[in-house]
Symmetry: C2
Subunit: 266 residues, 2 copies
């Protein structure tokens, strides 16, 4: 089964929920026009990233799924029968989470709260408290991880073990490693990955762009520029992610020896 | 603490224990002359790799640690106060293991039996049955994994969690992925890796050489050619592997969320 997927590479404006809503919806519509059926937006697409303090982040957060951004994205997902995974600055009471919302043709599916917070995010957001789960749809399945989760091979591995064929990866990457690491995440799990990275600068941070879609061998099928807003799009053949054979004798999942891995969860 | 380490890139001769013993000892002595204190030899350095059947493999196997190859290597390790990690076709009763022997200044330290067998190895060798353990010496610690173990991020992760600062990786790589994956293994664990890959051809297999030593950021400190026998050598600063910080706020090990990882061992 073939699926057209897209990473939406944009530069959200720090603190401006309304402008970001217009921009994300415009890009989502454009990607759908180009034929994309599953779309990934960057981390914290509704709010921007580099807050000076928690109050500034609170001021542009919203509840999930009842906030204005998620409601608009949900309408588009339903109208076009499309899947949208996008990073959201999520407010829950007075707590903030660096989350990704997951929307499909029937509307809200769920959310993932980033398990591994990066740098000063720790001063603003709660550590994620949602389990690592795959989403099974009729013809394919996918999982969600956010940005710095790339550094923890455990995340993509668990998503794969739970059946994810595509890894949706909203990101605001600033280190020079994430894209290369995601190629290895693809290869070691035989999954597709869609890294939607943002571009632009916020105070001392420059985001690295180069959003990418990788195939199950870690090859880059499509790649964005370093600094332009754009849609990175590719057609993937889901069947390839169902076959975990790397040689006729080797299955990357069945060959695991979990009886020797107990130290991983100590 | 600085340590000079080496990957010995050679082409063992299939089935010829005696010639391989001479060759490995010659290269070990050369590497020691160049200043190396910790040396890694390729997988199955005593026997070659691409056996046509189990009998052919049995004919050039030996017990560990009392076989002729290990005894000679052990003498050199003791004489020069050096660590040697080398791949051995190990015979245990009528069973064969794709093993690595671990030798130090005081002699035999232990062995590791490859947990994840590659391709037709499954027709010849028993799956490894030794736990994933780090070896702690006075001034540094290291772990051992063999060739296709690269595809399982669990292995390097566990070695790191158990304290390994250097990953010794005897290999007979034929796929084009192992070297790149090892760069990411270094990065995600902040450890050094020494991949000693063989060169040459055996029947339908061409080994990819390009033995490499990586630093804790995944940079290649030294790299071998694709087909020449040679010694790949670098000086590493062990302290760097003790610091797991990738940002002032992020520690690659302490930031793990093992309470969310239980699916890895199911």
């Amino acid at each position: 089964m073939k699926l057209c997927v897209a990473a939406i590479q944009i530069s959200p404006k720090l603190g401006d929920l309304e402008e970001n809503l217009v921009k994300t919806c415009t890009f989502i519509e454009k990607a759908i026009e180009k034929g994309a059926r599953l779309l990934v937006l960057p981390e914290l697409s509704n709010s921007g990233y580099n807050f000076e303090n928690k109050q500034q982040a609170l001021d542009c957060s919203e509840p999930v799924p009842y906030g204005p951004t998620v409601k608009e994205w949900e309408k588009i997902a339903k109208r076009h029968s499309t899947w949208i995974i996008g990073g959201i600055n999520e407010k829950d009471q007075e707590k903030l989470y660096n989350s990704a919302v997951i929307l499909g043709p029937k509307g809200y599916i769920g959310k993932y709260r980033k398990l591994h917070l990066f740098a000063k995010e720790k001063l603003i957001f709660q550590p994620g408290d949602t389990p690592i789960e795959a989403i099974r749809e009729d013809n394919f399945s996918f999982g969600v991880m956010i940005c710095f989760d790339w550094a923890f091979p455990e995340v993509t591995r668990i998503l794969t073990l739970k059946g994810a064929e595509i890894i949706c990866h909203p990101a605001n990457l600033v280190l020079p490693y994430g894209q290369k690491a995601m190629q290895i995440r693809s290869l070691e799990n035989h999954v597709f990955t869609i890294t939607a990275n943002r571009v632009g600068k916020e105070r001392d941070l420059t985001f690295t762009g180069q959003s990418q879609i990788t195939d199950v061998k870690g090859n880059v099928l499509a790649k964005g520029s370093k600094s332009k807003e754009e849609i990175v799009i590719a057609e993937i053949n889901i069947e390839l992610a169902r076959n975990k054979k790397i040689t006729p004798y080797n299955d990357l999942i069945k060959d695991r020896r979990p009886e020797y891995y107990s130290f991983l969860v100590r």
